[in-house]
Amino acid sequence: MQAEIIKTAATIQTINLASPFEPGIMKQPLQQAFANKRQSTRRNGKPIFNYHYNPNEEVDVFYEADQVWYKFSFVSGRSGYDNPIPVEQIPQHPP
């Protein structure tokens, strides 16, 4: 298991965008960089991501009254945000 973890690369790639450049030229290198990060650890050995995006937590809602789409993303794993404050404790902000 340990052997599969790739250490964070010491060098960070620079993408030079000449003028003009091809649309989408950064897509592949960035997706590769994301993939590398997912398999990397920090210098302290901990994973870099705290939380992973999960498309199954997204709900598209077609709102009948206005005939438009909205989207709700339920992101439960983000630290510090899991417990909504009870309604009676909601601070009122100044306008």
Partner: protein
């Protein structure tokens, strides 16, 4: 005009990212360098991602979260470099949590784009000036200015014409933008009354639950995108009826935070100042 500040007396995370020994430095995906850039920009991953390929373009140095014409152009150039599958967003100081210049990008999934494609939301009060179409999203959506065109410099000028007015009046603004397959750029911009997020947990509560005040935790509503980010678990059962209630409450929250009073500055003056195009056809009331 907003200054570069650190959030709540903590060190600025985006200044920290520039230091090689910092934790945030480990979150750099790559550097990017546009032609005529004096300094490379940083692309940081979001370690608490709530969108696919959730990242953030950060300028080096201590930069305030304030749009300029060249910053608008840079944001749109990066949208083009990422391609039509991605969208970018900008939250002005007051809506952003960190006042260091940053522009998040992620896979293009905001419902507003789908609503525009399916013509569920249309453009009203449209004007075409120097090949740029601008107008407003129709009323069944949150108030948003709309700009579209292929001439990047002209589009940036017109966006900045309105941004400058919002900045001078201290009006918070949220922007979403894309590069499209046909070579055009689209910029959406919503003027806001306040920068506070809504207590999104309310969206899920049963009919009749009293409406809470505004808070800055538990979630986030994205305008003009039409996304609600809820920092809690997806309930097992979400009935069709509950979904409609969620949408209804969401729409209400969006309306509450958006400014419908502000009027964009006159384009006759814009043309007087910037070009020699005929101004007869331009209507400023």
């Amino acid at each position: 005009m907003a200054q570069h500040t650190s959030p709540q007396n903590r060190p600025c995370p985006f200044c920290s990212a520039q230091k090689a020994d910092s934790t945030i430095h480990e979150e750099i995906l790559c550097y990017a360098n546009l032609a005529n850039n004096t300094q490379k920009d940083i692309f940081l991953m979001n370690v608490n991602e709530y969108a696919e390929d959730h990242m953030c373009m950060v300028e080096q140095g201590e930069q305030a979260q304030v749009l300029t014409q060249s910053k608008i152009k840079k944001a749109l150039l990066y949208a083009k470099a990422l391609g039509p599958d991605y969208e970018g967003l900008f939250n002005s100081a007051g809506a952003a949590t960190v006042n260091h210049y940053h522009v998040p990008f992620c896979k293009k999934k905001s419902p507003v784009w789908r609503n525009l494609e399916e013509q569920r939301v249309t453009i009203t009060n449209a004007q075409q000036i120097n090949q740029i179409v601008h107008g407003e999203l129709s009323k069944n959506w949150v108030r948003s200015r709309f700009f579209k065109g292929k001439d990047l410099d002209e589009l940036c000028k017109q966006v900045y014409w309105e941004v400058k007015d919002l900045q001078q009046k201290n009006i918070i603004h949220n922007c979403k933008f894309i590069y499209q397959q046909d070579g055009s750029f689209v910029w959406l911009m919503s003027p806001r009354l306040n920068g506070y997020m809504t207590y999104v947990y309310h969206f899920l509560e049963p009919v009749g639950t009293p409406e809470p005040g505004l808070v800055n935790t538990c979630g986030s509503i994205e305008i003009p995108g039409g996304d609600a980010i809820m920092f809690f678990e997806l309930p097992d059962k979400l009935s069709a009826m509950q979904k409609q209630i969620m949408a209804q409450r969401f729409k209400k929250s969006l309306d509450k935070t958006c400014d419908r009073q502000w009027q964009p500055p006159c384009y006759k003056r814009y043309l007087d100042l910037t070009s020699n195009t005929s101004i007869e056809s331009i209507n400023c009331d």
